[in-house]
Structures are given as C-alpha cells and as structure tokens.
C-alpha cells in the first residue's frame, strides 16, 4: 500500500508537466485546428536557450524567464512565418486542414536538426531550481523533492493565470470568441489573426516552461522532448482537446497512470502505455473526459 501511494506521489509532478504541454497543444488546437508537432522542437530550442543563459549568468531564474520568453517569441513566429502562409495558400479544400499539420512535422525535424548543429547531439544536464532529493518526514522518505513541489506550484500558478486571462480579460474573451466563432468574432471587430498569434505565443511559452521543468529529471538532447509531446498530446486528448481544465486533469491522470506502469511493469512500457491510453480514449470516449458529445469536429 505504502509503495502504491509512493508511486502516485511520484506521478504528480510529471503529471503537472504533461498538463502544461497539453495546455500548449490545446491553445493551438482551439485557435487554429492544428496539432502542433513542432511544439516539441520549440520547447527543446527554448530549453537549450535557457541552458545557454544559465551558462552565461549562472542564474536559474534568469535562464527560466529567458527560456519562457524565447518560447513565446518562437511560438508567435511559427504561426506568423509558417502556419499562416500555409493556411492561406492551401485555400479551403481538404488539403487546408492537412498542410499546416505536415508543416509543423517538418518544422520539428528542422528545429531538431538546427539545435543539433548548434549544441551537438550529446545528452546535457539541465539544472533544477531546488534539490531533487526525496523529502524525509519523521524518518520516512517520501518520493517527492523540493523541486517537485516547485513544479506543482508553478504549474498551478500558470494554470490559474491562464484561467484568469481567458475568463476575465478582454484578450481572453477575444481569444475564446476567435476560437469558437471566428466569423462572428471578426464581425464584432476582433482582429482574429493577431489574437491567434497571441495564442501560439502563449502556447510556446507554456511548452518552454514544460521543457525547462522536465529536463532536470530526464536529460536534454535535440529530440529528448518528443516523448513529452506524445504525453502532452495524450493528456490533451483525455481532456477532450478543447478544454484547458480537461487538459490539466488529463495530464494529472496520465502522470499517475504512467507512474503505476513504471513501478509495476518497468520503464520500457510507459511509452507504449501512453499510446494504449490514447487509442482507448479515442475509441471509447473520443470527446474526452470533459468534452461534450459531438464536440470534436476536425
């Protein structure tokens, strides 16, 4: 029993990071109807930038802030320079839905290649803000470190901040309107193109943060965040792809589930398990845990 509880605790901080990645994918999906495969590349690029800043300044916090800002800029640029032109040129036919997605897949390869050229392919360590050693309370070890507490706290703060922006500000209203009713939003005066780029930018920042938070517990290489993309996408699908609350719960559920798989089946099964979850959710409840029936239109 104790071991099972330890396993669940282990899953919480990973789940929080999956939730963050899910948020990044949901933001883009809602605004653009594109599954952004390049998000893994954008996050890895931002994390390398963070690592570089850390090398120059020796400050975890400056590196974190620069990485998140860089992630936002890169996200906005991906929309402006690639996705928008692709959508425009592919018109309204069936290829219009596919071209930008294939574009993001190509961009993922390009970004990873460029990152490899600049920083090499070897595994790097990324520093943690706090100790990653397990905490002891009254002599018993809990598999939860101060850095895990930091991860959960910062992800919660980011979720609350996004929730506030979306539900309580004009920008958030414009973003939701542009996502759910683009034509009405435009007629109401919303500059939907700009609003969409802001969404890509927010997504880029969320993905960058996820990259910076997960790498101390794994390692950094040009393709090291591919797995995070898969887990983030699975979490987003569990939550129904439209809902940020759903994505957060999906991330947590996946984190706990994969921790159990890791504990009882071994690390070689986690990747497969994520895909099994993804496929089962799509078969059994394609609208996600919180999605309304028929809500998924692709």
């Amino acid at each position: 029993m104790q071991q099972f509880i330890d396993t669940l605790i282990l899953g919480v901080s990973f789940g929080a990071i999956y939730a963050l990645m899910a948020l990044a994918l949901i933001l883009v999906w809602r605004s653009t109807r594109v599954v952004n495969f390049a998000q893994a590349g954008q996050a890895v690029l931002s994390t390398y930038i963070g690592l570089e800043i850390h090398r120059l300044t020796s400050s975890y916090w400056i590196a974190l802030i620069v990485a998140v800002i860089a992630g936002g800029i890169v996200g906005g640029l991906v929309d402006l320079l690639m996705v928008r032109p692709l959508s425009r040129h592919s018109g309204t036919g069936p290829e219009a839905a596919v071209a930008p997605v294939i574009g993001t897949l190509g961009l993922l390869a390009i970004v990873q290649g460029v990152v490899g050229i600049f920083w090499g392919g070897e595994f790097r360590k990324y520093p943690a803000a706090f100790s990653t050693d397990a905490i002891s309370i009254g002599g018993s070890r809990i598999p939860f470190s101060p850095f895990d507490i930091f991860i959960v706290a910062i992800v919660l703060a980011v979720m609350v901040a996004f929730g506030f922006i979306f539900q309580r500000t004009g920008l958030g209203l414009a973003m939701r309107a542009a996502a759910f009713g683009s034509e009405v939003a435009q007629l109401a005066g919303v500059r939907t193109g700009r609003v969409r780029t802001v969404g890509w930018s927010f997504a880029g920042s969320a993905g960058a943060l996820a990259g910076v938070l997960i790498t101390p517990n794994v390692f950094l290489a040009p393709n090291s965040l591919d797995l995070l993309l898969v887990f983030g996408f699975t979490a987003a699908v569990i939550g129904g792809l439209e809902s940020m609350v759903g994505g957060a719960l999906g991330g947590l559920a996946l984190g706990l589930g994969l921790a159990i798989v890791l504990q009882y089946l071994g690390s070689s099964f986690t990747f497969m398990a994520a895909f099994v979850v993804l496929i089962v959710v799509l078969l059994v409840r394609p609208q996600g845990l919180l999605g309304k029936k028929g809500a998924r239109r692709a």
Partner: protein
C-alpha cells in the same frame, strides 16, 4: 449614404451577385428580398468583407467597404448580423454582448449602450449569465442583433432575422428593429425571404433573382403589386 455600384461577387464558377447597384439613404431601411439562393446573403457578406467581390464598388459615406478587412468595418460604424442566429454558443449571453463592444475599449458609453440593448431586449437581461447555447431561437436572434448594436453602428446589415422563428417572435423582432431605427436614425439593410414582414418595415425594397436586381422601388409599391408578388415573392 450607402452606395453600391455594379457590385459583382463570384463563388467559383457561380456568379452570386451580378452587377448590383442601389443606394440606401441615411436613416432609411431597404429590404433585399428574393428566393433562397438569389444572392442576398452573398451581397451582405461582400459588404462586410467575408467574401471578396469580383468587381464593382461599395461605399458607406466616404469609406470604401471593399478595401476593409472584416474586423475593421465595425470600427467604421457598420455592423453585420449574419444568417442563422449567429451567436457564439460557448460564451455566455453577457460575453456575447461584451464581445460586440470589445473594440471600443474603455469607452464609458459602452455601459450606456449595454443598458439600451437590454431595454430593447429585456429577455437577454434575465439570462446574462447563461450560456448562449441555452437560449431559444428567438432569444438567440435577439442576442445576435444585440451583439451588433453594442458597437453603436450607423449601418446595420441584417441577414434573415426571421429564419426559423415563430410568427409571433418574428413580429416582435421586426417591431423592435423598426422602433429602434426610427428612434436612432440607424440605416438598415434587411435581407429577407419573408417578404411580407420585411416590406412592412422597409422604405425601399429590391428584389434579387439569380444575383440580379429584377425590381426595385418603394416598399409599399412592391408590396401592392400583385403580379410581382406572384412572380418573385411567392404569395
């Protein structure tokens, strides 16, 4: 004044709007009537930039409507209520209204506009916090019009406000539009299949068939011309 001159719009191979020309005086209401597929919606959608024109011109005062992206026309006093009770179902009633005035920023007049809209459609006031998807068809249409009025437009483009609504609701909505126009000097272009209701509140009317204007004149003349009614309006 709204001046439309030889406006033409193509949807691929199909000419949806074919050299349409007409003027609308400030403060008047022009009904655009005709059968389904006559090009009425395409005409409005061209004016608001949702579809691109092939040739011709459209000016509201000295503003060239065909040069403006859709998001900008409302900043020049032109509000378009598209066909099909177009509200955003995922937003609350209040958010739909707020959306209509979002571009006005912190203008203190927004609150005044909102209370005027709620006076016009008291049903919306009772449902501000509800999701727009919980509204009845008539209430949705009121919300769609209310959203447009939140911009304090000078020119209102209304696309089939009667579509799918019960006669009593249609009467209510048309009465509201008519009262509001007379009270505020709003200019209205009203696209309708429901010719009787539309002609009842319009000053002028044009009849479209296959994208072309086949008849234009005063609303009362057209309403009383029996052969015209049989030929184009189906009653």
């Amino acid at each position: 004044m709204l001046r439309i001159d030889s406006l033409t719009t193509d949807h691929g191979q199909v000419r949806a709007v074919d050299h349409v020309s007409f003027d609308v005086e400030v403060g008047s209401c022009t009904a655009v009537i005709g059968a389904n597929g006559a090009g009425k919606s395409s005409l409005l959608r061209t004016l608001s930039g949702l579809v691109k024109s092939s040739s011709g011109s459209a000016h509201w005062g000295d503003i060239d409507l065909l040069k403006l992206p859709t998001s900008e026309i409302v900043r020049h006093g032109v509000a378009h209520v598209p066909e099909g009770r177009s509200v955003i179902a995922e937003l609350s009633v209040e958010e739909n209204l707020t959306l209509g005035a979002l571009w006005r920023g912190k203008d203190p007049d927004v609150a005044v506009t909102k209370s005027e809209v709620l006076d016009l459609f008291p049903r919306l006031g009772e449902r501000l916090k509800q999701g727009a998807d919980s509204l009845s068809g008539g209430e949705r249409q009121m919300l769609a019009i209310g959203r447009a009025l939140m911009a304090r437009p000078k020119l209102l483009l209304l696309d089939e406000p009667s579509l799918g609504l019960a006669p009593i609701v249609i009467e209510q909505i048309f009465h509201t539009i008519d009262t509001m126009r007379k009270a505020t000097g709003l200019t209205v272009v009203l696209v309708e299949q429901n010719a009787v209701s539309a002609l009842g509140i319009a000053n002028h009317a044009i009849v479209l068939s296959l994208g072309k204007i086949v008849v234009s004149g005063s609303a009362s003349d057209i309403a009383s011309d029996e052969s015209l009614r049989h030929a184009y309006l189906g009653y």
